[in-house]
Symmetry: C2
Subunit: 225 residues, 2 copies
DNA sequence: TTCCTTCGAATTGTCGACAATCGGAGGAAG
DNA sequence: CTTCCTCCGATTGTCGACAATTCGAAGGAA
């Protein structure tokens, strides 16, 4: 998992994770106002740690805060998602290009194994797309790690990606894209194995563009209703 | 200015700005441990708001925090800066390409005017590089705004750029690059005016690569001492 | 001398109470 | 009936005190 572990540590850290999870899964609805006292009691802590966690959420762009007027869950509208995917395309494209020269042979092989497992999962439990999403995020994150760029790992990893996960969670019902996505992943691994950074970047960019197109179509269809 | 205004608002916001400023300018030395009680008193506030501000700084990557062990000012080492400039190249390159199709004619003209002022400043007070840095950041930020991508504006604007400003501040003494930088800026505006996104992106990427090379050489020279 | 243990001061983490501010209900004037 | 003002409840912002934890120093044993 990408958001695991820190069930220990300061209360503020715990609150951060619970909040992020609640927002990503939609338990806290978009645009909903977050009442500090109520949340603090639900989490069994004072308002101090909770406020720190809210500040953290603000940095992650999961909430918007207005002084003296409370904080609200961010609203993932069309433009926000579009912007997100544009940024993602640029960053992950770069990560892929660099990873082609920086990853070890072993890491690339492991990437292939990851995809094998991923394929098995799809065949076994065809409908369970959530696992796919997680696996997919894992695949992307492994490549980002391969770039050896700490800032990129931060930006695309634990922090910034919560927004993407939120986006995914909302649109995880349409599973029809898992197959082509897996195929594209394999192409990317192939390019990495051949140490062809330019090709790997191009494939990754197209892959992300495809994902965005798929999501956009789904949203448009939803909004038509 | 990019970090102006919020001298009003919550104490936590004020503390955030004062902290960011102190860190960027080096008043708070890299790696220095930040004592909450001491800072709170210096800012004339309780530890509550200050802790929120520290959480904000953590999100900006200006400090590192370890539970139960305090927070320290981040250390801008060679790799961190390298990673930063790599990310910047990808993001600002993208911004530039999109801006070429999204900016209005008026905005591009204003960009040219900005450079004219910038040039005058250089001629008038040849040594004052700080103004150059600010102006330069302003130029880059105007282009990012031209991309109409809110996330990019967030990433490269008020938030993430503090790290870059910190980087700049340390290396602002070597002014010899202001001239070629201005020239490259003009080339970029030219490409934008011609609505040539690909060229604009390439020029911006080279411009940033050049800036990084300049900084790296300077650091290497410094480390040799 | 060197290493380990123990203790204590300093610092961080947390809470509850108080002050400041905002939004809305309700009433008065036009 | 509308508009504006006033007041009140609710929520956010802030503080001071207390609990928990860590780091380092002092002291003793090998």
């Amino acid at each position: 998992m990408l958001l695991s572990a820190p069930k220990q540590g300061t209360l503020a850290d715990i609150a951060s994770h619970r909040l992020a999870h609640s927002i990503v899964t939609g338990e806290l609805v978009q645009g909903q106002k977050l009442n500090e006292a109520e949340l603090a009691e639900r989490f069994g802590m004072g308002r101090g740690p909770l406020r720190e966690a809210l500040r953290h959420m603000e940095g992650m762009r999961l909430v918007k805060r207005v002084p003296n007027a409370g904080t609200r869950v961010v609203i993932l509208d069309h433009k926000t998602m579009s912007d997100l995917y544009a940024v993602r395309e640029a960053l992950e494209g770069m990560a892929c290009r660099i990873a082609a020269t920086q990853m070890t042979d072993e890491e690339i092989i492991n990437l292939g194994v990851l995809l094998d497992n991923h394929e098995k999962q799809i065949e076994q439990e065809g409908g369970k797309v959530y696992a796919q999403s997680e696996g997919d995020l894992d695949f992307h994150y492994q490549i980002v790690r391969g770039s050896r760029n700490e800032m990129l790992m931060d930006l695309l990893g634990s922090e910034q990606y919560q927004l993407l996960r939120m986006c995914r969670y909302r649109t995880s019902r349409n599973a029809q894209r898992t197959r082509p996505a897996l195929s594209q992943h394999r192409q990317i691994v192939e390019a990495l194995a051949q140490r062809d950074g330019e090709l790997a970047e191009m494939l990754m960019r197209r892959h992300i563009q495809g994902a965005w197109r798929s999501i956009r179509e789904m949203i448009d269809k939803e909004e038509a209703v």
